[in-house]
Each structure stands twice: as structure tokens, then as C-alpha cells.
């Protein structure tokens, strides 16, 4: 069985669900809107002009997580997975296609989000953003896109492992919105290696932790790869 038809099928499944399209739209809108709001209130000693332009990613990533979760959880409703696996019995190939069909649009929308958020954020910041170099801006926007795609895939892998969208969201959303904010204050040490903290280093002008921009993103990629591997293991091993 060839891979391309399976990927085509999974892509049709994603683009024919309105909730998927809305989730992707929400990634752009939430990130840009909250970045703009944050830009209006930007003072303090640890002010980072680059992160101020990407502050909304804290909220946009929830939409990215919702996108990755729903794309997989829809297979765990009413025997949909059985139909999918009866059509594609090579489960590894099926799950790979699913991940690509989630990852590629998430990356595309993530990159769009990065550049929109940067444009909106720096416009609101005005002079305060003048210290940013073009290279830093580009790094931030590209990093934002990759980071959002990784978070969507992390959620996809976790959903396949837990076989439930509700379970995944009840773990990831509180984690991203609460735990990380609290632990984030205690910078340094193990907190730097949490999937969201590590990946967001690339959105900062300066980093004072153990990880740099790209090594931070690599740490997030390792988390995502682990979640996808666990999800693939679950799909392959368990009765559908």
C-alpha cells in the first residue's frame, strides 16, 4: 500500500471538518490579538521586546493543541478508528499519514501566525521594538511556526496514547496555562526543559537559561517525538 493515498485521505479528513479550520484560524487570531494586548502594557525590568511581540503564543498554542487533539480524537468516536484501520491496515503508515496531515498545516499556519504576530506586536510596541535586528525577528517568526506545529503534534501523539481528546486537553491545557506560568517564575533547572518553556526560548531576544533558541526548540521536538512514538505504539499494539 502506497503512502500518498493514505496521506491524501487523512488530509481530506482534516479539511472537511469545520472545527479543524476554526482551530487553525484561532491559532492566528489568538496569538496576534494577545500579542497586541501585551504590547500595550509593556514595562518592567525583564521586558523582552521580541517576546512581547510573541506573547500571544501562550494562548495561540492552546488552539494548536486543540487542533492536534481533535484531529486524532475524532478517530476515537463511534468506531471511526475501525473504519480507518479497515481501509489502511498498516497502522504505522496510517498514523504517520495522520501526523503529517496534522503537522504540515499546523506548521504553515504557525509560520503565518509568527509573521502576523510579529507585525502586529512590533507595530503596537513602536519604538520599544526598535532594538530588534531583522535576524532576531526572522528567528522568532520561524521559531513560532515550528513551536506551534510541535505543540499540535505533541497533543496528537498524547491523544493517540490516551485514546481520548478530553483526557489530553485536561492534561495539556492546565499544564500550559497554569503549571508553566507558576513554574516559569522559577527559572533555571528542570523547568527550562519543560516542552513549552524550552521551545519558547526562541521567541526571546536574550536567553539566560541553560538552553539557547535552537537547542530549546530541539528539546521540545524531543518531547513531541516521544509523544508521537507513544501514540504510534498504542495504535499499533492495541485492538481497534
Amino acid at each position: 500500500m502506497a503512502f500518498a493515498p493514505v496521506l491524501h485521505s487523512e488530509w481530506i479528513k482534516i479539511r472537511t471538518l469545520r472545527s479543524m479550520i476554526w482551530a487553525l484560524a484561532a491559532v492566528v487570531l489568538a496569538t496576534a490579538a494577545f500579542s497586541a494586548l501585551a504590547g500595550l502594557d509593556s514595562d518592567g525590568t525583564d521586558f523582552d521586546p521580541l517576546f512581547a511581540a510573541f506573547f500571544g503564543v501562550n494562548f495561540g498554542q492552546v488552539a494548536a493543541v486543540a487542533f492536534g487533539t481533535t484531529a486524532v480524537s475524532s478517530e476515537f468516536q463511534g468506531g471511526a478508528l475501525r473504519l480507518s484501520l479497515a481501509a489502511v491496515p498498516h497502522r504505522g503508515r496510517w498514523f504517520t499519514a495522520k501526523a503529517v496531515a496534522i503537522g504540515v498545516p499546523a506548521l504553515a499556519v504557525g509560520l503565518l501566525t509568527g509573521f502576523v504576530s510579529l507585525a502586529v506586536g512590533s507595530a503596537v510596541l513602536g519604538d520599544k521594538a526598535s532594538g530588534l535586528s531583522a535576524a532576531e525577528c526572522l528567528r522568532g517568526a520561524v521559531g513560532c511556526g515550528v513551536y506551534l506545529a510541535l505543540m499540535a503534534l505533541l497533543a496528537a501523539g498524547l491523544t493517540a496514547l490516551l485514546r481520548s481528546g478530553l483526557a489530553t486537553l485536561s492534561i495539556l491545557v492546565p499544564f500550559l496555562l497554569i503549571v508553566s506560568f507558576v513554574v516559569g517564575g522559577v527559572s533555571g533547572g528542570i523547568a527550562d526543559f519543560l516542552p513549552d518553556k524550552a521551545g519558547q526560548v526562541i521567541l526571546h531576544q536574550t536567553s539566560d537559561g541553560a538552553l539557547g533558541p535552537w537547542s530549546g526548540l530541539a528539546v521540545t521536538a524531543v518531547w513531541t517525538a516521544a509523544a508521537l512514538a507513544a501514540g504510534a505504539w498504542s495504535v499499533r499494539r492495541r485492538d481497534a
Binding site: P5, T16, L83, H90, A240
Partner: protein, 315 residues
């Protein structure tokens, strides 16, 4: 020709044995009814045949090959397992299009199967607006998508209206006439009797019967004659004197066992009795099935206290 071969198939969930050393073959060119009470293992067997569940032991093959080894399986086997499999927010057309794409089934087939299942008018509506009967039709459309030589349908008449039930009956018969292998599970006896040529009956995961439907009924239910006269007592007396076993029938008539209408008619007329009704009564599938499951209950109750005798199974 493509047959389904199940050999010594066993599936255990924890300590429960859902399918127990099952061996049978489903032949092409006829409709095979798959019967058994809820929990007998019909759906589990279907999932095992489709490679969705892993057997504890034994094999299930289609045309000699394991399901996972079929290149583009929808072109070989079409299955309806669950009418709820289509996502509620997707349209019927999109649901089938995604499925077709995965097996490189030409997109024109989507419209053909929608037409065949009577869903053309609602093809662009979201599945959540569908009635159970429409979802069932959509599931059947999905099963027919790849024009497969083997069709497995789990309770396809669920939720269908009377018109739909007639439609599915005609469809199943046509599929069998076209030489396909058709396995249809059901717990509705009258429904199954209307389309099945052959029966496979399960009870508690084991094979209870694998016979042509006519033989199954005749082996278990004696044909009877129903007779009603103006003088019931004289009739009963007459029949008993001639060595017939009788029982009280419906509406004041008598049921005569092991008899032919010709004999009973002549007998009654010779005795000067006025006959109001005289008709042969064929056994129904329901009677035969209930007879089988009754003995099966006894069998399992006895088996729990002594060693279980070997089950007769066809090779």
C-alpha cells in the same frame, strides 16, 4: 473465488473467552446469516477477520490471505461494523471521499454508492442530521465503495424503515447472485430467514451450527398440519385413533405432527367432519433457533459440572 476461512480462532479478553476455537468457511455466491444471541462473539469474529483485533490463537483469512496482506483492502472486502463510524460534522460525500482516497478508489464511485443506497439527495448534508437508518445506509455505501468480492455486514437492518428492510434484502440477494461472499450478522430471525441461504450460528463464542438454512429448520422443527373443524372433540378423537400426535392449536384448531394435508383432509371428510381450515405449517427459523439455543443452555449448564464434550465442527 474468495471465501472467508476461519480456523481455530480464539479471542480472550482477560479471563473472558469471546471467541472459542471457531472454525468455519463462508462461501461465495450465497448469503450467509451469522446468528447468535448478543455477546455470542459475532462482532468480535468480524473484527478478527478484518484484522482490527488480534486473535489469541488461530487464523482468519480472506481468499487465503490475512486481511493486513490485502493490498488495498477496500477493493477486496467491504465491511459495515458500526453505523456511528462516520463523523457527525462531515458530509456523507466527504466521509466517503476520504475513505475512497485511501484505497485509490476512483472518486466517481462515491456518487455511485450514494445513488445505490438512496443517499444522493442528502449527500451534502452533515451526518449528524441523519437518522439511524440513513447512517446505516451510509455505512453500507462505505462497504460497497471498493466494489469488493467479500462483504461483511454487522446488523445492517438496524434502524431501517420497512422500505429499507426490503431494500437491504434485495441488495444482499443481488450481491450473492453476483458471486460475492456475503456474511450478515443479525439477531432478527424473520429478517435473516428472508435473505440467508446458509447459516452460521454461534453461542458463547463457539460454533453451534454451520448448515444450509432449510436443513437447519427441518432438522429442528417438525412440519405440522393445522386443522380446524366445527367439532373439535370429534376431530381430536379421530386423529388419536389413527395414531396421530396432536396438540391444541390456535383459534380452536388442532396441530397435527408428522402429517400431510392430503391425509388429514381425506380422513376428516371420510368421518363427515366439516373442515373450516386445513393448512401445512412449515417450521420457522425462529422456532429452529430457539430449539437450538434451548439445548445449548442445557449443554453449557451440564458442561460446567462435568468435562465438556467435544463440539461437532465442520472441517
Amino acid at each position: 473465488m474468495t471465501s472467508i476461512d476461519v480456523h481455530e480462532l480464539t479471542k480472550e479478553y482477560g479471563t473472558t473467552r469471546a471467541v472459542d476455537h471457531l472454525t468455519f468457511r463462508v462461501e461465495p455466491g450465497r448469503v450467509t446469516g451469522f446468528l447468535g444471541p448478543n455477546g455470542a462473539g459475532k462482532s468480535t469474529t468480524m473484527r478478527l477477520v478484518l484484522g482490527l483485533d488480534r486473535p489469541t490463537s488461530g487464523t482468519a483469512t480472506i481468499g487465503g490471505r490475512a486481511y493486513a496482506g490485502l493490498g488495498e483492502p477496500l477493493r477486496h472486502v467491504g465491511a459495515l461494523l458500526d453505523a456511528q463510524a462516520a463523523h457527525g460534522s462531515r458530509t456523507a460525500h466527504d466521509h466517503l471521499r476520504a475513505l475512497a482516497a485511501s484505497n485509490r478508489v476512483e472518486p466517481a464511485r462515491v456518487d455511485e454508492v450514494l445513488e445505490e443506497t438512496g443517499l444522493t439527495k442528502v449527500a451534502r448534508r452533515r451526518v449528524k442530521t441523519f437518522s439511524l437508518g440513513m447512517r446505516q445506509r451510509l455505512g453500507i455505501a462505505a462497504a460497497l465503495l471498493g466494489d469488493p468480492p467479500v462483504v461483511l455486514l454487522d446488523e445492517p437492518s438496524n434502524g431501517l424503515d420497512p422500505e429499507g428492510i426490503i431494500w437491504i434484502r434485495e441488495l444482499l440477494r443481488r450481491l450473492a447472485r453476483e458471486g460475492r461472499t456475503v456474511l450478515v450478522s443479525s439477531h432478527l430471525m424473520n429478517e435473516t430467514a428472508s435473505f440467508a441461504d446458509h447459516l452460521i450460528v454461534l453461542g458463547r463464542g463457539r460454533l453451534l451450527a454451520d448448515t444450509p438454512m432449510r436443513e437447519f429448520i427441518h432438522a429442528r422443527v417438525q412440519p405440522r398440519v393445522r386443522v380446524r373443524t366445527t367439532d373439535t372433540e370429534a376431530l381430536a378423537d379421530l386423529l388419536t385413533r389413527h395414531g396421530y400426535r396432536t396438540a391444541e392449536g390456535e383459534h380452536g384448531g388442532r396441530a397435527v405432527f408428522d402429517a400431510r394435508v392430503d391425509d388429514i383432509g381425506r380422513l376428516a371428510s371420510g368421518a363427515g367432519l366439516t373442515i373450516l381450515e386445513l393448512a401445512p405449517e412449515e417450521g420457522t427459523l425462529e422456532q429452529a433457533y430457539l430449539d437450538l439455543t434451548a439445548t445449548e443452555t442445557e449443554f453449557t449448564a451440564a458442561a460446567s459440572t462435568s468435562a465438556a464434550p467435544a463440539q461437532p465442527q465442520e472441517a
